[in-house]
């Protein structure tokens, strides 16, 4: 049989039963659309989370006291018998490959200006905090470089605090009460918005040594180390370990590179996307059973036709290929329709819910179409074999 005949025959048999073809393809289409849409949402979410994280830069290592972690947070940050000090942070500044070191203490305090009070997240940070986390100052300047052990009482406001406490007034140079102490406001940060549940604008930044005093603590909660992006992570980690072990005697701290965190997130999100798509793929399976059913019926209906084909010289192989081709074409049609449907809904979602991150990679679309054809072929095997094995004599006698 020539290829042209083959194609014509397959198309003709599909076109002869338009409604049937349409419905069978629709089954596959719904399955593909479901998989497509779910992967698109999963992938969109994936990119969203990764983008949220990488906006602080990827070449950061966080040092936390203690070696126990629960819920992803270091228990040592709350209380520890093995503290990390400002001197540790200063020692890390002299390390090789290290660009910026930023000690951090975080807490909750009340700030007051002109009778108006507000409870905010208070960060005790070093002068390089803004550089380390690539955050920008909107007006004024960030905390100055000075001896971190005896800093002056300066404060920098998050944009929301500035708005709520000062309104239209210019906060620069004013006196702000933070947790009962007086600070001079020297800067206001640019609005950053919510990042993974943290409101980074409802914050006040003060020098870390003052925050330690205010919270009556002994130690830092964590130290951020920004390193040269070209240096291998392992070398930077080894360097930090070497310095801190020399100072502490033992390894009583945990290093968490941003890259490792990203990897963990990546794995988790990929797993979720996969699981959800697998649930969507159940419909695809049912669609495949649809093809199987319809082809089984078609083989029974077209017994005499198959008999005739065999009688005029078509080989078993040719008949097998005919039915497989029909199954594959059905599935491919359905797959294409499903892709269009999935894309349409994804596009609609983007219009209706701009907050929901949706991303459809081309690769997935091609992959989905291949999967559809594979499902069709798999479903076609049984009926096609049955057709191919028909005895031409018997088949023709049925007429």
């Amino acid at each position: 049989m020539f290829l042209a005949d083959f194609v014509r025959f397959t198309v003709a048999s599909l076109a002869a039963h338009r409604l049937r073809t349409l419905l069978t393809a629709l089954g596959i289409a719904v399955g593909i659309a479901a998989v497509m849409l779910l992967t698109a949402i999963g992938e969109g979410l994936h990119r969203f989370v990764i983008a949220e994280f990488t906006q602080f830069g990827t070449n950061i290592i966080t040092v936390t006291p203690g070696t126990i972690t629960t819920h992803g947070a270091s228990l040592g940050a709350v209380n520890t018998a093995r503290p990390l000090s400002i001197d540790d942070a200063l020692a890390l500044e002299r390390a090789r490959y290290v660009k910026v070191v930023d000690p951090l203490v975080q807490g909750n305090a009340e700030v007051e200006y002109a009778g108006r009070g507000r409870r905010v997240t208070l960060y005790g940070v070093g002068a390089d905090f803004a550089t380390a986390l690539s955050m920008r100052v909107a007006s004024g300047e960030f905390l100055p470089h000075e001896d971190p052990r005896t800093p002056r009482a300066f404060a920098v406001l998050g944009s929301k605090v500035a708005e709520e406490l000062y309104g239209a007034e210019n906060p620069l140079g004013s006196r702000l009460r933070v947790g009962g102490e007086r600070y001079r406001v020297i800067g206001v940060m640019e609005a950053k918005g919510q990042v993974l549940g943290f409101d980074l604008d409802d914050t006040v930044y003060i020098p870390v040594a003052r925050a330690i005093d205010m919270f009556n603590r002994e130690s830092l909660m964590e130290i951020h180390v920004v390193y040269e992006p070209t240096v291998p992570l392992a070398e930077v980690e080894a360097e930090i370990r070497r310095i801190l072990i020399a100072r502490h005697g033992v390894e009583d701290f945990t290093l968490t590179p941003q890259e490792k965190m990203l990897e963990v997130f990546d794995t988790v999100l990929t797993a979720i996307t996969f699981a959800v798509s697998a649930i969507g793929a159940i419909s695809l399976l049912v669609g495949g059973i649809g093809i199987l059913t319809i082809l089984t019926i078609a083989v029974a209906e077209r017994t005499s036709e198959i008999g005739l084909l065999r009688a005029i010289g078509a080989t078993q192989r040719a008949v097998l290929l005919l039915f497989l081709g029909e199954a594959a074409l059905l599935a491919a049609l359905g797959g294409a329709a499903g892709l269009a449907l999935g894309w349409g809904v994804a596009w609609l979602l983007k219009l209706l819910l701009p907050a929901l991150p949706v991303h459809t990679p081309w690769l997935y679309a091609v992959l989905a179409e291949c999967v559809a054809v594979a499902v069709g072929l798999a479903a076609g095997v049984l009926p096609a074999r049955r057709a191919a094995r028909l005895d031409p004599l018997e088949a023709l006698r049925g007429e």
Partner: protein, 402 residues
């Protein structure tokens, strides 16, 4: 046509085409089984988390230092510090509230527990004797922290089962000294092995008197106060009492957060229920695909059975009766598929239950009803078009064979 005849008729059709009936049953069955299995995984996860949270205690009210204006800033409240600490005296003052049964102040931190030459970093909990009853802790050996004035730093401790074996091996641990930082504690009790509870492993912890923990970590500040209300009804009064007492003690400033276990539980419950519903809904898409298949096959069967339908019409069957016959067939198929799906789904759930015995996988009641119901409704809906086509057939034309 009597109902019995109708059933008989549909039954014959269903049995007459074995392979296509089997395939439709398979398609419907997969759909129903998927909904059951997937939603029972979701429900299992929900029950697991709710149980874990429930096992933290009953009628719990939790007091945290610090408060935030924006709800989003929870993490700051969770581990951050405040200029005005929550102190032991604050905790003891809460006993004034008539709604409070007992309370336990809590300090947590990381310490290095050492015994002999062995050392191990362990979470250290500073609390009082009442922690045991509030958290429903069970002892394997010895006794819990002694009752008495919580301001006294008695040098005793209770340790987790795993920590005991790791530091002491098979030796008896009661009465041994455990060193944490520069302090020594005599071990008076060992906790029974409990395993992970919300990411916190009680098998590896050390519990010391709260005053000792204050000295150890050189801090006055409490991490939490766990308060148990006298009854379920008294949770809300206890919460407002606590807020009022602490406001008075903190010069009229509301600088603590008081959350109830119920509120946290309810939030988790709602989120996980919604997730289960969503995932079950996704699985139910396959039921729609199965419905399309039923419609397709029925359309074919209307064409194939023109003669039969024509004969029925000629014998006096009305259009509605023919329609009913097709609906009966669809419902029979759906029922069969749903039964198959329920059985397979249940088996699947038992199988996953074997792999993760600690999670109580169980299909939620709504899935047990909704999955078969959806199967039947889709089957009927999708057979509307074929049934109408059959009912509209002209008996004369149908009998005359095209």
């Amino acid at each position: 046509m009597r109902a019995a005849d109708l059933l008989e008729f549909a039954w014959r059709v269903v049995r007459g085409y074995r392979s296509r009936t089997l395939l439709i049953l398979l398609a419907m069955g997969i759909g129903v089984a998927a909904v059951i299995a997937v939603s029972s995984i979701g429900e299992g996860a929900r029950l697991y988390i709710v149980n874990q949270f429930g096992s933290l205690g009953t009628n719990l009210v939790i007091v945290l230092p610090g408060r935030s204006e924006t709800a989003g800033a929870m993490p700051g409240v969770l581990i951050g510090r405040t200029p005005r600490d929550l102190t032991l005296d604050d905790a003891l003052a809460l006993k004034r509230s008539p709604a409070v049964r007992r309370l336990a102040p809590l300090i947590v931190g990381a310490g290095d527990a050492r015994a002999g030459a062995r050392s191990r970093e362990a979470p250290v909990l500073g609390s009082t004797a009442e922690l045991m009853d509030i958290r429903h802790m069970v002892l394997a050996q010895g006794r819990f922290l002694p009752e008495g004035d919580p301001r006294l730093a008695q040098p005793v401790c209770v340790i987790g089962a795993k920590l005991a074996t790791e530091l002491f091996g098979p030796r008896p641990v009661l009465g041994e000294w455990l060193r944490i930082g520069d302090w020594r504690f005599r071990i008076v009790g060992v906790l029974a092995a409990q395993g992970q509870s919300l990411g916190f492993n009680t098998d590896e912890i050390v519990i010391v008197p709260v005053a000792a923990a204050q000295a150890l970590f050189d801090t006055e500040a409490l991490f939490r106060i766990l308060v148990e209300a006298k009854s379920r009804e008294l949770i809300a009064p206890a919460q407002s009492d606590i807020e009022e007492i602490l406001r008075e003690r903190h010069e009229g400033k509301r600088d603590v957060t008081v959350i109830t276990q119920d509120a946290v539980l309810a939030t988790f419950d709602r989120i996980l229920r919604a997730l289960t519903l969503a995932v079950g809904g996704l699985a139910a898409i396959s039921l729609a695909v199965a419905g399309i298949l039923i419609m397709n096959v029925m359309l074919i069967s209307v064409t194939q059975r023109r003669g039969e339908i024509g004969l029925l019409r000629a014998l006096g069957a009305t259009g509605p009766q023919i329609r009913l016959a097709f609906f009966t067939e669809a419902v029979l198929l759906a029922l069969g598929g749903a039964t198959l799906g329920l059985v397979v789904g249940k088996l699947g759930q038992v199988a996953i239950g074997q792999i993760y015995p600690e999670i109580p996988f169980t299909p939620p009641w709504w899935a047990l009803i909704a999955a078969p119901a959806t199967a039947i409704v889709t089957a009927v809906l999708f057979s509307v078009a074929p049934a109408r086509r059959a009912a509209r057939l002209d008996p004369v034309q149908a009998l005359s064979k095209r």
